[in-house]
Symmetry: C2
């Protein structure tokens, strides 16, 4: 549809040169939020610190006991399940690092308009739920089907299309057991908070956040490829508006560090004093296990290997800790880290621009000032 | 101190005309967050939806059992208290609506640089803790003292001043029993989340957020007025930089509504269809109880009274619900609400600008498009 008077929707576009953050972007930035990077210290992110992105409103669900999940479409026996029904299936808990596909978007030039993430749209939680493959087996999903479509209760309009939030996975992914897709009812051992999908959400370990449909109402087995807005219009990697583009799927490797020292309130520049500074951070990849992390304190001119924390059994889908000892002298530094995974993927130093601002895992440097002992910053 | 090369701090200033949101403001906006306005539905805000603002880093406190609180200064017997010690005092639970003093800042023209809040920096929780007056009585605070100074564990630099976050209350306020200031150890019946002050914070019902010192380490009774940065430099209402200004204290009245209908993802314009729409929201004032709420659907040209929910016993310091039924025809609307309290304060339609962007409670209108039945937005 075109632009009419009163039309609430605008087409996707990159910002003009020097175009500041606009009203829509600011509204998104004040209601959604990232992980304050110092919270990378926590192995498991406390819920209020885990990143949150919602396309539309967070549904208000005062009575989770009345929630129903439909499993339908190309199945032998459609299911209509309550939370109690779901809890009668075997339960699995998986530690998963979740990252928004748009993480890094606001660092791109030109900046694609959308949620203006810097690098903080990430978090790790223990998710508990029923393996999706058990529900699909119970319903008797047609093995010749193509996609499984997931519908959330969140409803809105986006680029002129009124919709429930809806995404699909290929049947083979939905039936997979490594990773095992979950229909989750608990986060860190407690019922899901409203902003994380109360009472039900999908968890797809290793995939960017758009796949983890929240406020899940139906699971529909489809004989045809799903062509909904969030699958074929949004969440595609395109350089030109008229390309079909590549779908956004698994998380590219990234390492981030707990910013060292202490911050200036407004510039967020960090201040450290001379002497040993232990740099600590996390690294993850949804494509293959992280195999190494390197650290640079000179904005990428040189790199040194970091020490990886031991890989933990059963935590393939969670971030991995790392550290590196640094002894700065007074001066200015650009401190960053880069992860490489066992498939050989690593983080670029230069941006790989695309129109949606997806999967921008270019290395980002924290500005650090080391002041002399006894000097004020 | 002046601006040197590598100086992490910059002075406070208003944005230039047409100056977009800058890097520092965006970093603040992605790590702090407001209440998504649809969460006004909840009487008590779930912790991850309550607004959060931290000046510096959130301290990492893996072992709350080792935390100590000092009560010192002009006292007969200095105290050095563990969490267990605090729990041996009588415990009080109070439902409190907390709002950031900078709420509304980014709507001002010119925009003061800082955390760029629109109107969503609010939340309501049940806070449990020891009345501060009991701790001051136990220590034997000097009744001739002037201020009580509260020091948090959060440390940073702000406009060139390296500091622990520190604020004071007049002794009479600290000793008051209506409102009763709390040293809180629990939020909504659970230990404080890291971002809300784990393991200890101050709660000062009716005051803006800057008074509710988080990660509380010491309570110091002072014979002289406190002149620290957050008391005499920041958090003053000034029109000119060289004014002494008025201190920011109690929360000015405000009403907000759950945005009706559903949103466009990017513009956040709301879409409704013709027929009855029940507008619902909350109203609060830290100065006096809310006495009325009015609603406008024509951007303030005319106003109609809303129906206030009954005042709840013992909930003077929490927001109050209200509703108003509306029957829109197709068209465009600016929908807003305005609260008045029993001291006669109300919300202005025009901004009252000040350099820090504090206490801007001007009425804000939600843009709503009513589309015909069966029409797409």
């Amino acid at each position: 549809m075109g632009q009419r008077s009163g039309d609430p929707s605008t087409p996707a576009r990159p910002a003009a040169p020097d175009e500041g953050i606009g009203a829509g972007e600011l509204t998104l930035a004040t209601r959604n939020h990232g992980l304050p990077l110092e919270a990378l210290r926590h192995d498991v992110t406390p819920p209020g610190l885990h990143y949150v992105l919602t396309h539309y409103d967070i549904p208000y669900v005062p009575n989770a006991g009345a929630w129903r999940l439909a499993v339908d479409g190309q199945v032998c026996v459609p299911l209509d399940l309550s939370l109690a029904d779901l809890l009668s299936f075997p339960q699995v808990t998986t530690r998963v690092t979740l990252e928004c596909a748009g993480n890094g978007r606001a660092l791109l030039t030109p900046r694609p308009l959308g949620q203006p993430w810097l690098v903080e749209a990430v978090g790790t939680a223990d998710w508990t739920g029923v393996p999706l493959r058990l529900l699909l087996a119970e319903a008797g999903a047609d093995p010749a089907a193509v996609d499984v479509v997931f519908t959330g209760a969140d409803h809105g309009v986006e680029r002129g299309i009124e919709q429930d939030y809806r995404r699909a996975l290929p049947l083979a992914v939905a039936l997979g057991d490594d990773p095992q897709v979950l229909v989750a009812t608990a986060m860190n051992g407690a019922p899901l908070p409203p902003q994380h999908g109360r009472p039900l959400r999908l968890i797809v370990p290793g995939w960017y956040g758009m796949a983890h449909v929240k406020w899940l109402r139906s699971v529909t087995v489809s004989a045809r490829p799903f062509t909904g807005f969030q699958q074929t219009v949004a969440y595609r990697v395109r350089r030109a508006a008229d390309e079909e583009g590549e779908p956004v799927t698994r998380i590219a490797p990234r390492a981030l560090l707990v910013p060292p020292g202490f911050p200036d309130f407004m510039s967020r520049t960090r201040v450290v004093r001379p002497g040993r500074v232990r740099l600590f951070g996390r690294a993850w990849s949804g494509q293959a296990p992280v195999s190494s992390v390197e650290v640079s304190t000179d904005s990428g001119a040189s790199w040194a290997p970091a020490v990886l924390a031991p890989a933990m059994d059963g935590q393939r889908w969670a971030w991995r800790g790392w550290h590196h000892d640094w002894a700065p002298a007074p001066g200015e530094y650009g401190v960053g880290a880069r992860a490489t995974d066992s498939a050989g993927s690593t983080q670029p130093l230069e941006q790989c621009w695309n129109r949606g601002g997806f999967a921008n895992n270019a290395v980002c440097f924290v500005q650090v000032v080391c002041v002399g002992d006894g000097s004020s910053p």
